[in-house]
């Protein structure tokens, strides 16, 4: 079921003009603070009525200003997990979860209460009051509550923003399970690239109220011309890989991808598993000759597609590595000394330890 959006609205000092489509899977909405990400969600949810625009979900027209049509929030069947848990303080956790299912009289098949509780591991919390829960626990309950309202679409607004790293690592798998097991279309707002890399099927980039890019996550992520993606400390690319084999002696794993074979420190997944890994641009070095006697494990032949000078000392170089985009960040000095130019064949070198899963 596709969500289609084309709106224009003014939020305080922000002039928002956005249009994109969100097919099944998880659509990540990425951008800096104040770019308009939350505003887009609020428009989809029906908490805001745009001055002009059209929003459709599947065959349903939710908003069409030309036809003066506006379906209010409570009738849209769109769940919303906010930045704060927003649990009702006068109800227990169980009652909060039940609240989600109580008002929805939707035809959609009910998601089993116990299944949701198991999925999010909140069984022990059921009799307690929201005031006694930790941030992570409350947020999991909030997700459960939204799920139990049988949403056709789930909106998640930086749900992990106020949660510490450890908890985040615990909850991210749940979100993946929502995407893969329950198969609910999700629109997921974040300004954390690592979440996006892991979760996004589609990626929409918002900048100052405008859509800078929208499309499959893999291709959008490798666009170095996008100022907010590139030139960031953690700019890089997503690699879809498959686990080929494990080397027990050296405690390494071999991953197969379009760019070639990669050796990385041992990971837990069995051979045959499909994964996504993030290759940071600053971990990719370049050589014009095949390197010899070097400690770097992964050397992949590639050629230069595009070069984008950054601020001051660095330059980001987009490479094509057997059809797989890679980004390398090196000093402009080095680039000049090597005489790098678009079209040139080079060797991309990535240290094995650069792949430590964090």
């Amino acid at each position: 079921m596709t969500l289609s959006l084309s709106v224009r609205h003014r939020f305080g000092s922000l002039e928002l003009e956005a249009a994109f489509d969100s097919p099944d899977g998880l659509t990540a909405v990425f951008g800096a603070s104040g770019a308009g990400k939350t505003s887009i969600l609020r428009l989809i949810a029906g908490l805001v009525r745009p001055v002009q625009g059209r929003i459709t979900l599947g065959d349903d027209v939710l908003v069409d200003t030309a036809q003066r049509r506006f379906v209010p929030a409570y009738r849209r069947g769109i769940g919303y997990v906010f930045q704060e848990p927003r649990l009702l303080p006068h109800l227990t956790v169980r009652q909060n979860l039940a609240y989600g299912g109580f008002f929805s009289r939707r035809q959609a098949p009910a998601i089993d209460f116990d299944r949701v509780v198991a999925l999010l591991d909140i069984g022990a919390l059921l009799p307690r009051h929201p005031g006694t829960l930790s941030g992570g626990e409350a947020q999991r309950v909030a997700i459960g509550r939204a799920l139990l309202s049988r949403p056709r679409l789930l909106l998640m607004d930086e749900p992990l923003a106020s949660i510490d790293e450890l908890r985040k690592a615990e909850i991210l798998p749940y979100v993946e399970r929502l995407r893969d097991e329950l198969r609910i279309p999700i629109v997921y707002v974040s300004h954390a690239l690592d979440e996006i890399v892991r979760l996004a099927t589609t990626l929409v980039v918002v900048n100052r109220g405008r859509i800078a890019a929208a499309g499959p996550a893999g291709s959008v992520l490798s666009r170095i011309d996008l100022p907010i993606l590139a030139h960031r400390r953690d700019a890089g690319v997503v690699l879809d890989v498959e686990v080929d084999a494990h080397d027990e002696h050296w405690h390494l794993s071999r991953l197969r991808c379009r760019a070639g074979l990669l050796s990385v420190p041992r990971i837990a997944h069995p051979p045959g598993s499909a994964l996504r890994i993030w290759v940071r641009a600053r971990d990719v070095s370049l050589a014009t000759e095949p390197p010899r006697d070097t400690s770097i494990l992964n050397v992949l032949p590639a050629h230069i597609v595009q070069m984008a000078p950054g601020d001051g000392a660095t330059v980001d170089i987009l490479l094509d590595c057997g059809g797989q985009p890679l980004i390398s960040r090196i000093t402009r000095l080095s680039a000049s000394q090597l005489g790098l130019a678009p079209g040139m064949p080079v060797f991309a070198m990535i240290k094995g330890v650069a792949f430590e899963r964090g």
């Binding site: 929030a73 927003r86 009702l88 303080p89 609240y99 009289r105 009051h129 929201p130 939204a146």
Partner: protein
């Protein structure tokens, strides 16, 4: 303990009855008005606010006199209500209840309005996204959250009603058994040489009732807040 004469008992019971009816009947209106003032914006809202809070600042006797002009037997509304609905306020305990209700109304509205303004609207938003239509959001989210405020306002209005004098005596006089409440009974006893003993007895009762109301309101308030904030 307190040897109260039948007249004195009558005054006490009448006061309790008048105050309870006054608070119970004005509560729905106070809720509506408080909601309008807290959540809505429309032309004339300032006028509404002024009218609601007027009994707080006007001398009670003035309020009583206005009630007399409006609802007395010969009053503009009073004659109409009597002719068409048989509702009479003049010289009846219903009039005393009306006076008490009018005087306590601004206190109730203020308390409820403050509670409404303190409600986290984000919770109401969340409820909407979960499928609850606006009236259901009000009933299941807003109302429980402002519960303590409603109760506090009701108790305040009740206490005010118990002490209501100026408006009552101006509007419905001081008729034993009908409109002679605790306050006007004490007044009558102080107007007569030799009425001190009776007056003091009633004063003692008055103090006990006020203290009870205050303590009750404190308890409810504390427990109420604890529940709302999740123990």
């Amino acid at each position: 303990m307190l040897d109260l004469s039948p007249d004195e008992w009558t005054a006490i019971l009448l006061s309790l009855r008048v105050s309870t009816v006054a608070v119970a009947c004005s509560l729905p209106f106070a809720l509506i008005i408080a909601w309008l003032l807290a959540r809505r914006r429309f032309a004339g809202i300032v006028v509404l606010e002024g009218l609601v809070y007027l009994p707080l600042t006007l001398p009670p006797v003035v309020t009583g006199y206005m009630l007399l002009l409006l609802f007395g037997r010969a009053g503009w509304l009073g004659a109409f209500l009597n002719a068409h609905f048989g509702i009479v306020f003049a010289f009846r305990w219903t009039g005393a209840a009306l006076a008490a209700a009018v005087m306590g109304f601004p206190l109730m509205v203020r308390s409820i309005r403050l509670a409404l303004e303190g409600v986290d609207r984000r919770l109401e938003e969340a409820a909407a996204t979960l499928g609850a239509a606006p009236p259901l959001v009000f009933a299941s989210v807003t109302l429980p959250l402002i519960g303590p405020g409603i109760i506090a306002g009701a108790i305040l209005a009740f206490a005010r009603s118990m002490g209501e004098f100026g408006a009552t005596i101006t509007f419905v006089s001081n008729i034993p058994g009908e409109t002679q409440t605790l306050a006007t009974a004490i007044y009558t006893f102080t107007q007569v040489p030799g009425g001190d003993a009776a007056a003091l007895r009633l004063v003692a009762v008055s103090v006990v009732l006020s203290l009870a109301a205050l303590i009750l309101s404190e308890q409810l308030d504390r427990r109420g807040w604890r529940r709302v904030l999740g123990r």
